[in-house]
Symmetry: C3
Subunit: 352 residues, 3 copies
Amino acid sequence: MTGKTSPGNFFEDFFIGQRLPHAPPRTVTTGDVALYTALFGSRFAISSSDPFARVLGLPAAPLESMLVFHMVFGRTVAEISRNAIANLGYAGVRFGVPVYPGDTLQADSVVIGLKQNTDGKTGVVYVHSTGTNQHGEVMLDFRRWVMVNKRDRTRPAPETIVPQLPARILATDFHVPMTLPSEGYDSARTGDQFLWDDYEVGERIDHVDGMTIEEAEHMLATKLYQNTAKVHFNQHVEREGRFGKRIVYGGHVISLARSLSFSGLANALTVAAIHGGRHAAPTFAGDTVYAWSQVLECESLPGRADIGALRLRTVATKDRACSDFPGHEGGSALDPSVVLDIDWSVLIPRRI
Amino acid sequence: MTGKTSPGNFFEDFFIGQRLPHAPPRTVTTGDVALYTALFGSRFAISSSDPFARVLGLPAAPLESMLVFHMVFGRTVAEISRNAIANLGYAGVRFGVPVYPGDTLQADSVVIGLKQNTDGKTGVVYVHSTGTNQHGEVMLDFRRWVMVNKRDRTRPAPETIVPQLPARILATDFHVPMTLPSEGYDSARTGDQFLWDDYEVGERIDHVDGMTIEEAEHMLATKLYQNTAKVHFNQHVEREGRFGKRIVYGGHVISLARSLSFSGLANALTVAAIHGGRHAAPTFAGDTVYAWSQVLECESLPGRADIGALRLRTVATKDRACSDFPGHEGGSALDPSVVLDIDWSVLIPRRI
Amino acid sequence: MTGKTSPGNFFEDFFIGQRLPHAPPRTVTTGDVALYTALFGSRFAISSSDPFARVLGLPAAPLESMLVFHMVFGRTVAEISRNAIANLGYAGVRFGVPVYPGDTLQADSVVIGLKQNTDGKTGVVYVHSTGTNQHGEVMLDFRRWVMVNKRDRTRPAPETIVPQLPARILATDFHVPMTLPSEGYDSARTGDQFLWDDYEVGERIDHVDGMTIEEAEHMLATKLYQNTAKVHFNQHVEREGRFGKRIVYGGHVISLARSLSFSGLANALTVAAIHGGRHAAPTFAGDTVYAWSQVLECESLPGRADIGALRLRTVATKDRACSDFPGHEGGSALDPSVVLDIDWSVLIPRRI
């Protein structure tokens, strides 16, 4: 009589077009914002100060982009990746309307692809997940794919459907909710003076600082998002697992990288899109995370003289400073210290 | 000249009928709620989403039942259990009006029983504690009894008065503040579809997941409640103590059990009452807590076709999964992994 | 091409009269308050309860004095002490208008002194820092001086200007925003009954309890304040450093001392001024902090029969109880357990 506890979905439980509403809805608050600040030390002025945000035409300081991502992603875990062996990737992550304290978000997914693996024991599930606010406006949508166990290996394979995944979100599709005042952007209180016009394609930026992760910190963060993936919380099980310890939620490293990127990108207001990313290696409590970025593109936005976009490759490492920009160059293997390699676009004011 | 620091009450300082106002009053906020979510990963929709709570006729998402309990309990420590050798038990814990962010709670106790132990060195103090909001409405009341040291062993014993303690709170006395809408309860976003009608007496539910406790986590929680019991915070003293380490506040384990019980009891809106409970063994940082529940009774509530109650026995263990429901059955000894054995009632929607 | 990352100011970058605006502005919230409570277990009624604060004529519970200090101090780090070898001292810390959730603070500094050291490699920079709210009102101002590296040792020394630093803030300059009601102050819910009239010059108070610091706790606190001093966060670098481990932000110990001082000083509403202080030794995770205070002066305030001030010397130790008031008496050396020796004034109701 343990039928009350859901074992989660196995590969054969998914079908193309399946709609998966996620639970529970979540009213986000200034309490969530304070915890996020305490966890990552984030300093972007737009999310730190209500008056600063109002100068940019917003009603209040919006939640940090990655906090929104984690809140939406976290609630998809129960239905999508409870039996996942691996989170294989994500693509086409697009940030929509800003999220403010007091908003209530909900998350929904649709199955857009299925491919059983040749071993017959596992399969890949592709989903399109969407986070909406209490007005039904899209705050975030993204695709991800995970490898999931089959419950019953004798079940026939479904028709293989591998969806077309966006290689990137086009700048023309970015949601740009803020507007600069007519006198332009005031960077006197933002941490540095560099705007869109000051960055060049190919430029590399060492974000300098490193931040050490504690068990309590990554667990507090991941529980805050109501993400229930077991590998982050249960030392009793993980002691016997592959690594002998709990694994830090991959998104934690993205938030650390975004927060560290303040040094060199203080005016990067928000993340507009994540085009793709790779968690190259797991991260554990005790690791110190560093990051660097390279400017891949400086994009102007249609009809917008006030705000542009920078497409960045950001690399995060563990226990290794980034002053020499470790990565893989010229076909060599990826530096073993690399834990994250992400391709994303940020919005940043232009000089007017 | 250390007379400014209260040593707390000793056994001979208590008398029957004594009124003990506790300090300080506490305005609870969405910040407290965010921290509680980060500490326990709680996912009950009614306390996660303001719109969801409004559908149930409440003005906003109420605080989790156990957060209210800890806030009230925490402020009774200074006057009641500062010199306690043992928290012997509690009974008749009844949750009253819901508590919302912005409410201010205060706590008061009355001494209802005294019994000196035969050794003449200690005694048992029984109190009835009440938490009220800024309107004077009762949010929570409960009895507990603690063993307290005497300051002066030569003082004569008081008259022994052992109060009648309620074996349970009757369902007719439950406070049921929420009302289902006429179209019934929508479980699409609550985590599972099981309502009152779906549970059977005797049914056992493994809550599956385990959660590891860190020192920082239990201390943050207990300080949030302004609970000052020294054994939780002072490693310098506890290093020389009975266990060589800090002891986790027993209520922390109750909150973990309640949060884990989401798997299998996602629609258990709130706790209506705690009839009794036993902390069978101490819990320490590094322990991983699991839980299971058995349905003891399915009770209908007078005049309510929309909401019923489940009386549950919930058992929490450390470093042991609960798929085989460890406890004491058939007269055998309690499983040594058990840290909590609690008898409580939750409110849960009925199918209408 | 790492020119986007500021290396911070070196000694030769400072000049007398230089104005340094700090980033970012910060809207403080009840989320910040909840975290501060969870970190320090603070129980002063005025900052715990909105209704209690309103009885004292304030619109809501103000932020704890030291939370305001840390928020202002934290944002001065990037411009003032990024290349500091040592924080040498602070003086004349005066608390101004109270800060409430929803207020937005900003910080500014002016260089008021410069003195190159004889080795030609370093110099001392004196600054006057001010925190203001969204109305331009001063919430806090203070002087501090730090030893900073020179970038280029061949640069000529600036003219030596050592500012006159206030030995103390005079009681006539205290900002006293609260007013007692005509019926006097009600201490029934504040933790103890001792008011200004009950303290005597020379009296010593053991604050009794000890609190152990975890890595996660001091890092959460310091990141909450957006303080970016590297020594607190980066175990990968500090492992090779002088102590082999991360150093706890000195302000963390002040907050612990203030919180512990509740035992014996429960009615000390707020800190009015910090006259001076000394971090006698570094503090690390795992240390248990204790504190005691001595009353240096009982000062009446001009025109105020309702509220007075106590000037206190508060000493905090690590891993040593304070029942015998360790310090340096009669010319002996400072007890090696002492980590903080601070001279400050608190506001406390008078009996009327």
